[in-house]
Amino acid sequence: MSLLEVTGVKKIYKGRRGGASVEALKNVNFTVENGEYVAIMGESGSGKTTLLNVLAALDKATSGTILLDGMNLSTIKDSAMAKFRRDNLGYVFQDFNLLDTFTLEDNIYLPLVLAGKKHSDMKARLDKLAPALGITDILKKYPYEVSGGQKQRAAVARALITNPKIVLADEPTGALDSKSSDELLELFSKVNQMGQTVLMVTHSTKAASHASRVMFIKDGIIFHQIYRGNSTDTEMYQKISDTLNLLAQGGDLK
């Protein structure tokens, strides 16, 4: 059984006051295996953020089923949803979404505190995680005191500290300069090599080239995917650009 199974997912946004409704996701089907590093690529308006929101249970699919480790997301009650997210999902946002009232350390602890964990447990987990992410020295600082790259690494730590089944990342390099982006992507690869399943949504070819599989979404459907196989990052980058070029020319890949 796959870790994540997405079958026939549809999302329709009802137009307001009788306006035309928009079909953001038409019919999305894919699976993600345990330990995979998947990137979903698409242009603005292709439905990729909607897809991620549906996967993260921030939004409900109009129809179709999403199974995470055998659990059907649509059967989870609203009241239990936040707890489900906290226990099973890690989320990395484009604009970090760190709380400026907390130090980085407290920001990272937040999901564990919400889950009612003991401080010693939390500290033990962070002590293991912090060196790998290179944030040991800045834990006591506040978000406004550190750079964007450092903020995003703290955000990654916050996503990982709950040992989630899957980490969902929404344009994680979107707000970073190229050097910080490179560092962060290295980090994702490292995290993935440690066995963490990662699903990233991006429109950056470079970001996607680190993934082991890239899916392309357009007009609400996944219409193509490429596997890394044994390619290096550079070769992968080339493959993705070629695909995107074809796409832009309106070529039919199927």
């Binding site: 906290r86 989320y91 760190l98 009232t101 602890y109 937040l110 919400l114 889950a115 406004y144």
Partner: protein, 678 residues
């Protein structure tokens, strides 16, 4: 650019940010209205007819100053919050080609619009409320009383001056914020994290010291005469202390809580403690203001209601019988018995005329002196105590010395005491130690026995005194005080005074009692050969009752009026503070929900935060009330009120009522807050 553009942009800005500006302007209007009413009451002649007008006006004048300071601080803080939310908008204007001068102009028109609206609104509301108050006033204490709530040009002018200055300050502060921020920072200001305030030990401890010294003064005050002066000092210290403690101390407290890992890292505390630590500096001022307002309400209502509800007892203490004839004569009065018996005859004749007779009469002659006690058995009457004291303010050592003769004491208090020659019975009231030998002036009295003069009717002859009292029961009255007739005060009047009180009941109804009171003087003048010889006065309890009702009722009404105003502004401040914070917290809570915060968590965290924010001011206010209650009691003594249990009871009831109001506000506010953030 046309000039007309700026006012338009300014007006648009206010309209578009209505959800924040409407409560802000409402607060401004209310503040101005309160200031106007306080000023009107404190500085106009309106309260002149009050018996206690001095105290009431002094307090209200102090209140006016407090309101001005408090208004400045509060509006200042609120406005910085407002401007913070709009920096992005200004940044955008800046990028689109407006320079800082242009932005300053928009700011100017914005402040000007708010100024005009709040000024007009505030004055109208103020005048309206004072007119409304007039109606309630006459309803409560009868139309015979001429307390007129006039429209005072002086108060309007003062209000305009003070609040225009405050608005000028606010404008300059807004200008400063825009002027010294770079465009890019303006644009990103809503994203830029705010620096968390540092815990400031120095200010926190300083605040605590100031607060405690205010408390100490409040508790240790002894004499009601000096109470008013020290009351003001204590009030000012307590206010400053409250502000410092809540601003710095609350950050300290949060930091200490954060250090305690097992407390801090709990689902309910984590979010609330950290966000409070973050904005306590700003919150502190608001909380302190609420606390001061609450304290004012509690003190005002509990004291004035205690006065009002105790009016009958106060009246009866002062006038134990239906009619009271009192006579006074400076210096020694030889053969006073002859005179008093003539007066008694006159009164009896008058009663006869009215078809009734004098019953339950109490005739007391006494001598009184005031002096300066050295706390060691000697009362100094050489120096004029009030002349000396006006420079030292040490009222605690002023004593009132009364002389009664043994026959009077035994008669009034149903005793059967005897005295050895040269000995006295000594009664003491106030904070003075009993002594075996009392020297008054140059004469020394051996104390035969210490008595409680209040256990009989003698207490009515002594009355409720605001200073400490010695009651000397001697064998022969004129002989005992003969030596004192030579002392004169700075005005050349003898310091010794002879006082005669003749209290009695009649079988008459209220109206006839009043009539008889005015008739008595005719009879006395007929009876005594030289009517100008002694000064005498006639009082009727029924006549005085109206006076008591109007005075105490008036004060009580004032207390209620001001309390309603304060309560409303309290509610408004709390509501506004929480709502504006709610908008700030919106994004925070949405992040936390994404990270896994349940609705349940949100509710709990809001409750924990709100409870703290709500409990701090009322807890502080209760402590303040408890510590100033002794002073309030001393001040009430000036009105002849000496009922401590009643005062404590009214204070307790006031706390309860405030608590209920408060709980309602809490419910209302936390619901609104919850709606915003979830």
């Amino acid at each position: 650019m046309k000039i007309g553009l700026y006012p338009k942009i300014a007006a648009d800005g206010i309209r578009k940010n209505g959800r924040l500006y409407v409560p802000y302007i409402a607060t401004c209007i209310l503040m101005i209205a309160i200031f106007y009413i306080m000023h009107l009451l404190g500085y106009s002649d309106m309260l002149q007819n009050f018996a206690g007008s001095g105290t009431a006006r002094d307090t209200l004048q102090l209140g006016t100053v407090i309101m001005a300071v408090f208004g400045t601080i509060f509006l200042f803080y609120t406005q910085s919050t407002l401007i913070k939310g709009r920096k992005k908008e200004f940044g955008l204007y800046n990028v689109l080609g407006m320079n800082r001068v242009n932005l300053g102009r928009i700011m100017f028109f914005e402040t000007a619009i708010i100024w005009i609206v709040s000024m007009t609104g505030g004055l109208l509301v103020g005048i309206g409320m004072s007119k409304l108050a007039e109606l309630g006033f006459t309803k409560m204490i009868g139309s015979s009383v001429s307390y007129q709530f006039t429209i005072s040009a002086d108060s309007i002018a003062a209000t305009i001056t003070v609040y225009s200055l405050i608005f000028l300050f606010i404008y300059l502060n807004a200008l400063r914020q825009i002027w010294f921020t770079r465009t890019i920072n303006l644009l990103h200001s809503d994203k830029a994290g705010e620096k968390p305030p540092k815990a400031n030990w120095v200010i926190g401890i300083l605040g605590l010291i100031i607060l405690l010294s205010g408390y100490t003064i409040a508790i240790r005050i002894e004499s009601p005469l000096s109470a008013l002066f020290w009351f003001f000092i204590a009030v000012i210290l307590i206010i400053i202390g409250t502000y410092l403690v809540l601003i710095a101390g609350s950050v300290l407290l949060c930091r200490i809580l954060q250090k305690n890992k097992s407390y801090y890292y709990k689902t309910n505390h984590f979010v609330s403690v950290s966000s409070m630590a973050f904005r306590m500096k700003r919150n502190g001022a608001g909380l302190a203001s609420i606390c001061i307002l609450l304290t004012m309400i509690l003190v005002m209502i509990s004291s004035t209601s205690a006065l009002y509800f105790n009016r009958e007892e106060t009246l009866r203490n002062r006038y134990p019988n239906q009619i009271n004839v009192a006579a006074r004569q400076d210096g020694l009065f030889e053969n006073y018995e002859e005179y008093t018996s003539k007066m008694e005859t006159a009164v009896a004749k008058c009663a006869e005329e009215f078809g009734t007779e004098v019953s339950d009469p109490m005739s007391v002659a006494s001598y009184g002196l005031s002096g300066y006690y050295d706390n060691n058995g000697t009362v100094d009457i050489d120096l004029d105590p009030y002349a000396t004291l006006s420079s030292t303010l040490d009222f605690d050592r002023v004593v009132q010395v009364y002389f009664f003769d043994l026959e009077t004491y035994n008669r009034l208090n149903n005793k059967n005491e005897t005295l050895s020659p040269g000995h006295i019975l000594l009664g003491i009231d106030g904070n003075i130690q009993a002594v075996n030998e009392l020297t008054v002036g140059k004469k020394t009295f051996e104390v035969e026995k210490t008595i409680d003069y209040k256990d009989g009717k003698l207490k009515y002859a002594v009355g409720t005194s605001v200073v400490s009292t010695f009651v000397l029961v001697v064998d022969d009255l004129n002989e005992a005080v003969a030596d004192y007739s030579e002392y004169i005060d700075t005005f050349g009047n003898p310091m010794l005074a002879w006082v005669w009180n003749y209290n009695f009941d009649t079988g008459l109804d209220t109206e006839s009692q009043l009539e008889m009171r005015s008739k008595i003087s005719e009879y006395i003048d007929n009876e005594i050969d030289d009517p100008d010889f002694v000064r005498y006065f006639c009082f009727s309890r029924e006549a005085e009752r109206n006076d008591f009702v109007s005075t105490f009722g008036g004060l009580f009404f004032l207390g209620i009026l001001l309390s309603i105003i304060f309560m409303v502004s309290c509610v408004l401040i709390i509501y506004y503070k929480q709502i504006s914070e709610g908008y700030e917290d919106q994004s925070r809570f949405s992040i936390m929900q994404k990270v896994g915060m349940t609705k349940e968590n949100i509710k709990k965290s809001i409750n924990s935060q709100m409870l703290t924010v709500f409990l701090i001011p009322i807890a502080f206010a209760c402590i303040h009330l408890a510590t100033v209650l002794p002073i309030v009691h001393k001040l009430l003594l000036l009105f002849g009120h000496n009922n401590i249990p009643l005062l404590i009871m009214t204070a307790g009831i006031c706390v309860l009522i405030c608590g209920v109001f408060y709980a309602l506000t809490y419910k209302l506010t936390s619901n609104a807050y919850y709606k915003i953030v979830s």
